[in-house]
């Protein structure tokens, strides 16, 4: 399974797909917001938590359809299904690889982009913490969605429709955590809820993803 993770990371670096695309999207999205909303720092700092979380979520969504599609197209998925690695392990490793190539760079970039949106000082640690705890859930949910739609040509739209409603709780509590921190309220409760969602998805969704893969490989 470590070999699988290493292969996926090597492929992501060589093909330049995962790392660059999502991060560039996040960057473009957040830098464009002040142009659309206007440069008033008061408004910007008020909407910054929501914008940053939304940007991260959409950036995550962008690379989801590649999780299983490439392996499906070149036949690797069939061969993996007949290998000693259980499909549950495969799904978990795919989610982890997606998080390392997508979620982790977003977490790292978020404080810099927070600066662009005039995010108030006390909110920075909470922004990083909520994204670090929340993006693994986005990757796990996305892997499940990708497993459901693997093999469907141009399945990206269906994947987005399936996954977006499942992303809503993470978005609500993640953004709430940061915005509470900006106004001096207690941000710990929403953060714990984000952590709970992540723990739940990591525990359950690899099994659901493996079951979906089994059906799709028939």
């Amino acid at each position: 399974m470590i070999g699988l993770l290493r292969r996926d990371l090597t492929l992501a670096i060589r093909a330049g797909g995962g790392f660059g695309l999502s991060l560039a999207f996040f960057l473009i999205f957040t830098t464009l917001v002040p142009f659309g909303v206007g440069p008033e720092t008061g408004i910007l700092s008020e909407i910054a938590p929501g914008v940053l979380w939304l940007g991260a979520l959409l950036a995550c969504l962008l690379s989801l359809d590649r999780i299983f599609q490439l392996d499906w197209e070149d036949g690797t998925l069939d061969l993996m299904a007949t290998s000693p690695v259980p499909l549950e392990g495969l799904a978990a490793m795919k989610a982890l690889a997606h998080w390392i190539t997508t979620g982790l760079p977003l977490v790292a970039a978020a404080p810099v982009l927070g600066l662009l949106l005039n995010l108030p000082g006390p909110a920075y640690p909470w922004l990083v913490a909520s994204l670090a705890l929340g993006t693994p859930a986005l990757s796990a949910i996305g892997t499940f969605g990708a497993a459901l739609t693997v093999g469907i040509k141009r399945g990206g739209l269906l994947l987005s429709l399936l996954v977006l409603p499942l992303y809503v709780p993470t978005l609500i509590f993640g953004a709430l955590c940061v915005s509470r921190a900006t106004t001096g309220q207690d941000p710990l409760t929403p953060l714990l809820l984000v952590a709970g969602i992540t723990a739940g998805s990591l525990a359950l969704l690899p099994f659901a993803a493996a079951a979906a893969l089994r059906v799709n490989l028939r």
Partner: protein
């Protein structure tokens, strides 16, 4: 007995393709599947490999005995030959890829990326994967596609060596590999009668 199939019925999607398939493959024996295009060779092999659950009947084999090789090569074009083999070696528990490289003469290509190779070279790499799996029963779907005569001979030699070592193979192919202990099974006679009756073309032609 490496593999015994009793009264197997296989489906592809919602359609039943084959019914009543029975055969046994002993260690050291190869079974050649014959049948026209679309007869159900791939469906049978996918069922044997465990990708598609059988509709009826049983497949008896040791757990984790079957190595499956499909039409698709399952190679990553951004990885080199060596990295592709090392990945599959890691997946199947670290085995030495040297005999696989030797058997398919991949030595000169080791640092070449799979995306830069010809179809025949990719096929050789894909077949070399079988040796890395170390599994006794090979289920091969048209393994010699895009191989030249020299490499078909290399493949036949690899299968012969595998059989000599107590392994066995089920191979869907249209060419004569010249294997020593090979039986031929024509799967046309197992083609599901239900499918024939439901076939709109058959009705139209009747």
């Amino acid at each position: 007995m490496n593999l015994r199939v009793t009264d197997l019925a296989c489906a592809r999607g919602p359609a039943q393709i084959l019914a009543g398939v029975s055969f046994a493959v002993a260690p050291g024996q190869a079974l050649i599947l014959r049948g026209p295009n679309g007869a159900g060779k791939t469906t049978l092999l996918r069922t044997l490999a465990g990708l598609t659950p059988p509709l009826a009947g049983t497949i008896e084999a040791e757990p984790d005995a079957i190595a499956y090789a499909a039409h698709a090569d399952g190679l990553k074009s951004a990885l080199t030959v060596e990295e592709n083999l090392a990945f599959w070696a890691a997946v199947f528990g670290t085995r030495d890829p040297a005999p696989a490289i030797e058997a398919f003469h991949l030595g000169p290509l080791l640092q070449r990326r799979a995306g830069e190779m010809s179809a025949g070279q990719k096929r050789r790499l894909s077949l070399a994967r079988l040796l890395v799996t170390g599994r006794p029963v090979w289920c091969l779907d048209e393994p010699t596609v895009s191989l030249d005569t020299e490499n078909v001979a290399r493949f036949a030699a690899a299968v012969t060596a595998h059989l000599k070592g107590g392994g066995s193979a089920v191979i869907a192919t249209h060419i004569d590999l010249g294997l020593p202990a090979a039986e031929t099974l024509d799967i046309t006679r197992f083609v599901s009668k239900r499918l024939r009756a439901d076939d709109p073309f058959a009705e139209a032609m009747a």
